[in-house]
Amino acid sequence: MSQNQSSNLTDMPTNTTRSSLNLRMTVYVSLFTALIIIGGYISVPLPFGPVPIVLADLFVMVTGLFLGFKWGLTSVALYLSLGALGLPVFASGTSGLAVLFGPTGGYLFGYLLLVASVGFIASKGKQSIIRNLIALIIGNMLLYAIGVPWLKTVMNFGWAGALAAGLTPFLPGTVIKITVAVALSRVLLPRFKQTLLSASVK
């Protein structure tokens, strides 16, 4: 019986139209963009420190892990474009070019680097926790490497001030988010890939 089934499986038509897969990715990109937007509205207070955790960057990390380089980048670019057009999608419902080029703009552009590097590194070769972890750490380093100097320039801060305002308070949160992202990818990613696969051979 099981042999029968497997031969049936290999006989399955694999002539999926590209458009069907494209539609699926279009829908997934929209989902992750929506999640990043919602992440900006959801904040979880930390037991230590005054800065609550905002989940937008967590979802940017997850987007990279799930959608990979190309579609992940599309998703974050869509997010930034919507904000640039004046839709209230940035943290706490702000929007506009003013925010994008304001003091925190570096972090927003940094999301592009974050998702791109996570997507690029994580989707190279076989999935593994270590690879995902490395991807997330490098991605976040790039995020702050843009965000902090940008903050310093726009606000005319010194280095000490820029680090105190733009890096130190967020570090605990970032560590927590990386941990969560790895945990999520371990449980949900295999099934997600499976769905994509079955959608593309169905």
Partner: protein
Amino acid sequence: MTFFHYIHRDTVLHRMDGRFKLLCMLLLSLSASFASQLQHYLVLLFVVTLALLIAKLPFKALLKDLKFFGILILIVFVVNAFNIPGDPIPNFPITSISLQGVITGLRFAARLTIIIIVCAVLTGTTPLMTLRNVIEWYLRPLPFVPEVRIATMINLTFMLIPLIFDNFAEMMKAQKARCVELRKNPIKRINFIVFPLLNQTLRRVDEIAYAMEARCYSEVRTRAVFKSNKIDWLLLAICLSVFLFVIL
């Protein structure tokens, strides 16, 4: 929660062709970034305030946005006023503030204010669907840009947000009922939110893809029709002359 603060009125700006409106707003935002002299700022402030009045947007609705920006503008002003070296202001008790600093601060603040008002007018007078169609129209001539796909993504994103939010609110209630607040570990707390959220929405989105396929989703589809008239051209001409005035 309103994600898109479109406010329905019957005004010139609401009736304006979306393509022209977006272009005008971009010209004004750019002008604000290039403005260097006092008269530039005055003209720009005059134009955008006029637009705000013509659009008959309720100030109350804008206030929420402005609260955040008010703080931002204040910070920008103060930081600049203190940090830029220069001559002290005559007859002013705080000597660490320089005249040049105050002027730079004011300039930054004015620039931000103008851009914020421009954005408020654009979003307040243009329904999301129009904006989506306008973007599609502008992207059309660009090579290698799948404009319909991008427009669909914008559409889907805004359709998904309220769905996910409802989902999220339900989940939070269910978790509160089981005393999630007692959990101290932030990793666990976040996981309890994100895991079910992602799990459920991924399934749901799969259904959405099937439903779209069932309705023959195609990227070759009916295009929106735009109509422009003399008023649109006139408004564009005004914005263009403001832009030229600023950069020349």
